[in-house]
Amino acid sequence: MAEQTASTKTVKFIITRQDSPDAAAYVEEFELPYRPGMNVISALMEIQRNPKNAKGEKVAPVCWESNCLEEVCGACSMVINGKPRQACAALIDKLEQPIRVQPMRTFPVVRDLIIDRSRMFNALKRVKAWIPIDGTYDLGPGPRMPEKKRQWAYELSKCMTCGVCLEACPNVNDKTDFIGPAAISQVRLFNAHPTGEMNADERLDALMDDGGIEGCGNSQNCVRSCPKGIPLTTSIAEINKQTTKHLFKKWLSV
């Protein structure tokens, strides 16, 4: 039976590696047996099981991060064939070979493909991307959100802080302090919420400081790269509108 004979088809990988945060990067090639339905994560698992490079030398297995394996946690973002995306959703059958895999260098590289996305979580803290409802007594139910608004706000809530939009942005780099598209879109989400709206000005103030929304240069790569299809540029323009209004209100009230 032909199906049962081992396949001789292989998959070629060129992976950018780095042993520690300060070490120099280098590329290493790997050649793995092809299996139907495999994706970049399962290929990395295969390397982990049998860590040999294309020359047959035994090497340290390639490190990466992943959790959900279904494109909802954002942990496995890396640059695959030039595009930042989730490795767990990158099917080998749909990729051109050799497959080039690199870490998202906009973030500090911890090791191999593992990056440190702390700046994204700090950004969410900075803009207060939550709804403060804790108190010493029960505040009762908040105002209801109109269904129509809920529908578009839900789309914004899909953000998984994966960092792809920051990697795609030419204005997020070591020369700027731009907060990046994701947090701006979260401000729109929480400012749209009937309870969150009560703290809208605090979030706008956070974006009207150094490294805030003014860092956007309108390349609009983010909206085309977001794996969740979040309308990031609409969010940015909407927050531009809200900050402009907030600016004039502040001026006119002194």
Partner: protein, 222 residues
């Protein structure tokens, strides 16, 4: 001033007053194409006869230009273009906005040197500027450099207007931004055309008379 306010000011100055002046400049020059030297000189005179012209020039042109231009160079320096990886038209326009900004900077410095600074030094008078332009435009090499300068500046202005509308939250949704793209790119073509046509007009012989005069002035000085 924090990062936000200083960038907002940069953006505002690009349109008011610089963008408005740019349009005015295109129209005055086009007067050369439409009505020859008389029309052009009338335009120049009209502006120079404005009260407080010295103050107006500094407040409405030189200071905004210095602020927008120097800050703009810094913004351009901060960019890390990735057009190889992301070949989208918006991303190209992001890159061109920065490149044309730098070209515009160099071009404006040169253009000012040849016109206003020469007037300031007393080498030519306002009335002779038409002749100065005739001299430049009849030299093919300089004509090409001017062509690059005015086309770059026109793109920078029109595409800048597009991003201004986004930066101030005027065009928010994708449809509004798409319509604004068509309008601004049409504006780019129209303004560039106005400038190029006036450059062609300056090549005409009628502007030479002023040049003859200019040469006499120059020979007196040298």
């Amino acid at each position: 001033m924090n990062g936000y306010s200083s960038r907002k000011l940069h953006s505002l100055l690009g349109v008011i007053p610089l963008g408005l002046f740019f349009i005015e400049h295109a129209l005055t020059n086009f007067g050369a194409f439409e009505g020859g030297p008389e029309r052009f000189n009338a335009g120049v005179k009209l502006l120079n006869d404005l009260p407080l012209i010295y103050v107006l020039e500094w407040v409405l042109i030189y200071l905004p230009l210095l602020y927008h231009g120097i800050f703009g160079l810094y913004i351009a320096y901060q960019a890390k273009p990735n057009n190889g990886r992301f070949q989208y038209s918006r991303n190209w326009r992001y890159l061109f906005q920065r490149i044309t900004g730098v070209i515009t900077f160099v071009y404006i410095v040169w253009h000012l040197y040849e016109t206003r600074i020469q007037v300031m030094l007393g080498n030519v008078t306002h009335e002779e500027l038409g002749g100065v332009m005739h001299n430049i435009m009849t030299q093919p090499g300089l004509f090409v450099l001017y062509l690059i300068g005015v086309v770059s500046a026109s793109f920078h202005f029109a595409n800048g207007l597009w991003s201004f509308l986004v930066s101030w939250g005027i065009t928010v949704g994708p449809r509004a931004q798409r319509v604004s793209s068509y309008v601004c790119m049409t504006l780019f073509v129209v303004v560039a055309l106005l400038f190029v046509l006036s450059m062609v007009a300056f090549r005409r012989a009628e502007f030479q008379e002023a040049t003859v005069l200019l040469d006499t002035v120059k020979s007196v000085f040298s």
